[in-house]
Assembly symmetry: C2
Homo-oligomer: 348 residues x 2
């Protein structure tokens, strides 16, 4: 790997992944969930804050208005579309994620679809545009963070306007006072610090849909928009770490290897484990299934023999999507769901 | 700056600083406070957990026992001793902090000193040793994280055994169920996931006191132990950021620049601001003083003129310690409290 630049490091110091031992929690504690903030966390005074929804008519809603509506809660695994970027060669320059940009939370709020109906959805609407309060410059354009979503996706019953995370008001860094949650999709679609929802009769041409978050091979390539999370599984690295290298040491014998797997495309169908870097594979055992949009736990009883090993896990979903051993490169460094490799020294 | 290595990046992806816009909060929300974890966050079941204190007699205390004791709460600014490391040239290789490794929390718990008295402090005791439940390998030695503190420091009335942070039980990553809080000192002394306290009749020779956390010039240098936080001030970067460079843009006119300053050695006496990279300085105005161990807010009304500027702030404490423009190098990359430099483009 070429050395990480100062600019990449600045992002890595602000944003953060989930330390992999936190895979032990079915719901990630606040502060361990991954975090990617394009600009700054905005300061929002909840009293003066309003959500505007512009359809056939305009709704203006306070936080109390939203809390007075029917509540819904979903446990949702969310992953950054750039997870795995720093493992690609050559490395696309942006937030340098290795593979920890994930977390699972209980998001509570109110369903979006009925609010869209109340605002009135004009015939010919194709997309719903979400605008956050965070502002910055990206790709040479000053902008608020904005993402549009196809109308039929926005109308899915599990799409939430969330005001609580893990039973408490949203922390500032996760979008206080309100954010969108689009289960199954990469995180960029779940717009934080939400201020405005608009219905569009043609596709949104803003930066985050047109330029960012697309699978492209060259700058001229129009590319394909990112949407749902590719299947991925991650292991809790067993044993104890060396401080600097993070290399693991574990005593020989039976080791219960634990991990979690998810796919935004279909439920997880199988997870396999390798202890020889991917030459041979054996099936892991599932923990009982939880909610559809949450990751699924698995375990594997590993007979750890003295020596050096590389543990890997590989998930497949019910649509047949499977983690690759090596992910294909793309310009933005998105959706690298290649299998994790955990170096482990087993002592005799 | 030479490129950051994969190993440094692995640490930067796990640990994280406080995004500087969070300086706006007098008490840092959970998840924005800096975090440095040497090994893994351990899994601790609170029911079975006990704190052992070994003095003239041995005390064994449950979390309920500790909660039943007189409670104390202090608002404490905590900074990693390695903050600023990645700005040193050549760069010492460890967690590559720029300057965000800080946070302030309300820590609630029970005072340590009366518990030491109950356990009985033998004549000749010189240090108090704190042992955490986190285990790993560092400097070639397998170890639990352990730090010893001089007896007279451990007996200061503000030293806490803390079970709450910001009004809630400690999050796993901040030491659940119990940690030490040593106000005024760099963070390494505030041992997390505390399991054992021992009284020592001679200085502790374990890794984190003998080898780590010392100001040394060479490997052979015995060095000087790190202890209290050097004075530092940080500014909320004004205006809006560019995503990748984090460069700021702000409109010309009067800009209220805000920041916070702290020193573990003495109360902050003055903060000065420069908008020309440190050639000329002007006094900032203090916000009302809060608790002794919390940072102090300041503001500066900046007449921003079109062009490129470098904003700096420089704090001095009542003992006359002042932030340097360039910090002296040391082998471990500790205590680099050089003045922050914020590049700002002012548009006309």
């Amino acid at each position: 790997m070429d050395g990480i630049s100062l600019e990449e490091l600045q992002l890595a110091a602000r944003n953060h992944g989930m330390p992999l031992e936190a895979l032990r929690y079915p719901v990630t504690p606040v502060g361990l969930h991954y975090l990617l903030i394009h600009y700054d966390v905005p300061a929002v005074e909840p009293e003066g804050w309003r959500l505007t929804i512009r359809g056939e008519r305009e709704l203006e809603l306070s936080l109390d208005d939203l809390r007075a509506r029917p509540a819904a809660e979903h446990t949702v695994t969310m992953e950054c579309a750039g997870n795995g970027r720093a493992r690609l060669e050559p490395r696309p320059v942006s937030q340098p994620w290795l593979l920890e940009a994930v977390g699972t939370a209980r998001w509570r709020g109110t369903a979006l679809a009925p609010l869209l109906e109340e605002a009135g959805v004009p015939d010919g609407t194709v997309e719903v545009l979400f605008t956050g309060l965070d502002r910055g410059v990206e790709g040479g354009e000053e902008q608020a963070f904005q993402r549009a979503l196809a109308l039929e996706e926005a109308r899915r019953e599990e799409v939430l306007l969330a005001y609580e995370m893990n039973g408490a008001p949203l922390p500032p860094q996760h979008g206080f006072p309100l954010r969108v949650i689009v289960p199954g999709w990469y995180g960029m679609t779940s717009v934080k610090w939400l201020s405005r929802i608009e219905l569009l009769e043609q596709g949104f041409a803003g930066y985050q849909n047109r330029q960012g978050y697309r699978l492209r091979q060259t700058e001229d390539d129009e590319g394909v928009p990112l949407n749902r999370m590719q299947p991925r599984s991650l292991l809790v690295p067993p044993g104890i770490p060396e401080f600097m290298t993070r290399e693991r040491t574990v005593a020989a014998g039976e080791v219960l290897v634990e991990g979690r797997a998810w796919s935004g495309m279909a439920p997880i169908a199988s997870v396999e484990i390798s202890d020889d870097g991917g030459s041979t594979w054996a099936a892991a055992e599932f923990e009982p299934a939880g909610e559809r949009w949450a990751w699924r736990g698995f375990t594997y009883s590993w007979e750890a023999k003295p020596g050096e090993h590389v543990l890997c896990s590989r998930a497949r979903d019910e649509d047949g999507n499977e983690q690759p051993v090596e992910a294909p490169w793309n310009l933005g460094g998105y959706a690298n769901n290649a299998v994790q490799r955990v170096q482990v020294i087993v002592t005799g």
